[in-house]
Symmetry: C2
Subunit: 302 residues, 2 copies
């Protein structure tokens, strides 16, 4: 079995992590944290989300954060945008890439976006067109790919249709989200096998959540299928919005640790990553759930 | 790829879990907990350890526990024994199986058993002989198979030699321990591939620790190689003796959950397992680290 020799890690902690944290983080601390992340060797950082503060008050300082981060050459700085209004902010902040999002399941899409899947396409299509005109690359997140908190399993063909529609809009990369962390390795293998013929692997990222502890096993089967782009949130920041206190995003530090141990390169300095993890851990004022941060904390105490 | 359709789970929480917990558990609670475990569908429960209370005071009630547990037909009840003195206790309690243990690395063996590897063999050999005479089956644990806290990586050939010597003594099953949770999936695959030709798979158990979050990924590659016996501790009870507060044994509940999701049978009732987990969680008076217990706790709070 041959695995990819190099893997690309996309850090979504400043957005997907912080949006699920209760503790209010000062704007200056967010900026400092992202600046620290820029020094870890990461090539991609999703800085924030330009959603209405009514929905995600934690990221109401999106514009200031995105404008103030010290950009480092070679790193793609992105932000999530739900609509044209969000896109305006992202363009004003001159991010490199914008991310749009929708769900593979009707019920989750309705709850999250307040539109049916079909109603969502034109809204996102306009965002993609305008983003492209502004010279931005576009990432598309598909949520609930492997299961929905309201509908359970999601029909694979339906997921593929959503992905196709997003690619048809002209997005550059698709991030397949296991939003509630229910995917199991056999399911991931089957699904990736199915889409291997549909989409190019260099345009597909896997976005696993570790709610049930299977994220690294799912990463492994993805690697076995030749996929090599993975999202993570440092320290496992953010938790799961559907099970308070439970894990959300796979921890970037645990993911990078496993990959390095397997001899797979990421370009990331694991020690620097943990330092940045300690910084944000102090700010959220509670232990981050990742194994690597936990080991760090225990070492510091002993 | 064909995976085993059925997997055997061996619950070591009452021994390997409790021996690493600080909170003193009442003898009656240990007995009650093991009785609850007997109702989950588990076919194997390691009840306790007959080591000198000076070393593991948490299990000083080994004899009373092992004698008082209500034995259920079809379940193998075992206990760890370090030497002849321990074996006497185990025989007095009439356990079904005894477990002996040693390390694959000299330094860990010396620290743990206070003997060199070569000095350990005759001591264990006598225990195996006497156990067999008493009609007991014998399980052999090998620690630090994939890494040692003092020596780092352990030479694979040295591990195989230790395993061979234990089988030559007449043990019935070998449990390969990733004592400090450092094994990565590539390493596990390579090692299991190596020993596949040496030892029969129905006599090899994998004993993973989840200290670095790789236990389920390592389980997956073991399944892919056709291995089907795994140790676990319910809830991830016990932690890691080398990194306080960090995870130790892979959580039986997380392991069983993944297997069931993958369509692999264990014969275990996951709900019953979680009920038994809640019982011991209340007794140790802190949240168990497993994902499944965490989700349970959050559900109960919401």
């Amino acid at each position: 079995m041959s695995l990819p020799k190099e893997v690309i890690i996309k850090e979504v902690g400043p957005r997907d992590g912080l949006q699920n944290e209760k503790e209010e983080i000062k704007t200056e601390d967010k900026i400092e944290w992202i600046n620290q992340l820029s020094e870890t060797g990461l090539s991609y950082i999703e800085m924030t989300s330009f959603v209405h503060p009514k929905w995600i008050p934690q990221l109401k300082d999106a514009l200031e954060v995105a404008k103030s981060v010290k950009r480092k050459e070679g790193i793609t700085y992105s932000a999530l945008v739900p609509n044209m209004k969000g896109l305006e902010g992202a363009i004003e902040a001159d991010v490199d890439e914008v991310s749009i999002f929708m769900s593979a399941s009707e019920a989750h899409n309705k709850k999250n976006i307040n539109k049916s899947i079909d109603e969502t396409y034109p809204v996102l299509g306009e965002v993609v067109d305008e983003a492209k005109k502004a010279g931005k690359s576009v990432r598309g997140y598909v949520s609930t790919v492997f299961g929905c908190p309201y509908e359970g399993k999601v029909d694979e063909q339906q997921v593929i249709n959503v992905c196709k529609n997003l690619f048809d809009m002209g997005i550059d990369e698709l991030s397949l989200g296991d939003t509630i962390g229910v995917a199991n390795p056999i399911q991931v293998r089957q699904f990736l096998n199915l889409i291997s013929t549909e989409f190019p692997k260099d345009q597909i990222a896997l976005h696993f959540h570790d709610t049930r502890g299977m994220a690294l096993a799912n990463t492994l089967v993805s690697l076995e299928q030749g996929f090599f782009i993975f999202d993570g949130a440092l320290g496992g920041l953010g938790g799961c919005p559907y099970a308070k206190g439970a894990s959300g995003n796979v921890a970037t530090d645990d993911l990078v640790h496993m990959l390095h141990e397997m001899g797979i390169q990421t370009g990331i300095d694991h020690d620097q990553l943990l330092k940045a993890g300690q910084f944000i851990q102090n700010k959220i004022n509670k232990p981050l759930p990742s194994k690597q941060m936990n080991i760090c904390t225990q070492k510091a105490l002993s």
